[in-house]
């Protein structure tokens, strides 16, 4: 099992860097992951991460992007409800990068 080192504490992640145990998530961890990718998390980033975590809390799955875009638009104003905005925040792709920071698992099955 791969692990991720955070302040002396080692946290299990799977083969692709997703958290094995979703309870291991913390704000520090998200910041740590982002730093490794060369990103400083701003308030705007946190809005998305929080949305993802809320969504996951509610549905136990990462949202489809179309939902993410639409919902962000609804809650944070239409000027933020577009892909470009999300891409500026998460250059490696909001679904992938933001989900990883938010501690969400990757989906499996016929997807």
């Amino acid at each position: 099992m791969a692990t991720l080192d955070l302040g002396g504490q080692s946290i299990e992640v799977d083969e692709e860097g997703y958290l094995t145990n979703l309870d291991d998530w913390s704000k520090e961890l998200a910041e740590h992951m982002a730093t490794e990718d060369g990103i400083t998390l701003t308030e705007a980033h946190w809005e998305v991460i929080n949305f993802l975590r809320d969504y996951f809390q509610k549905y136990q799955i990462a949202p489809m992007i179309k939902i993410l875009v639409k919902e962000i638009g609804k809650t944070m104003g239409p000027e933020k409800g577009n892909t470009k905005y999300l891409y500026e925040l998460y250059p490696a792709g909001p679904a992938k990068q933001a989900c990883r920071y938010a501690g969400l698992p990757k989906p499996t099955g016929c997807v």
């Binding site: 992007i65 993410l68 892909t83 470009k84 250059p91 792709g93 909001p94 679904a95 990757k106």
Partner: protein
């Protein structure tokens, strides 16, 4: 007689040898299948290689090569080798094989016709093809990694574009996507 004339004359011979040598880079059990199965749908690997080589060679024979065409033929071959557990040097080495074959075939002609300079030019040209092949190989591998790493996202990729359609022009997104994937 120019070098190109000699090449033209021995076209079939050269292509055949070239094909055989490439096929020999596969295990023997496989190579026989690749050589013998002529149905291009039952044997896409063999058929693609054989058509590709012919296409590339045809272009070499011309005075003015159509770069796009050559790239297309190389692409077809390299695209397959890029997912077949070859490392980069192995995957594109097939281009260099052509040099050897041409030397073997045409040394006598070249000496006789005094067109060594043409041979050198041709070899440089083949080197150029190898560079093209390398670019293509890298593109293919990047594509694989892109598909790989994006599959989770991919389930939403088109939606991303689509959601954006409401706001902006589509090619914007495409550009953005290129920026982040390359």
């Amino acid at each position: 007689m120019t070098l190109r004339d000699s090449l033209s004359e021995r076209k079939e011979n050269i292509i055949e040898k070239w094909f055989e040598r490439i096929i020999d880079t596969y295990p023997p059990d496989t190579s026989r299948f690749l050589k013998d199965q002529k149905d291009r749908f039952a044997n896409p690997v063999g058929a693609t290689i054989s058509r590709g080589l012919e296409g590339i060679f045809e272009e070499i024979l011309k005075d003015e090569q159509d770069q796009a065409k050559v790239s297309k033929f190389i692409d077809n071959i390299v695209r397959i080798r890029a997912v077949q557990n070859f490392n980069p040097s192995q995957a594109i080495s097939f281009i260099f094989l052509l040099k050897n074959i041409i030397r073997d075939e045409l040394t006598v002609d070249v000496l006789h016709n005094h067109n060594a300079d043409e041979l050198l030019a041709l070899e440089s040209q083949i080197d150029g093809l190898a560079l093209t092949a390398f670019d293509i190989f890298m593109n293919c591998r990047e594509k694989i990694y892109e598909i790989k790493s994006n599959e989770a996202k991919d389930m939403t990729f088109r939606l991303l574009q689509r959601a954006n359609l409401l706001k902006e022009k589509q090619n914007h997104v495409a550009d953005d996507m290129n920026d982040v994937t390359q």
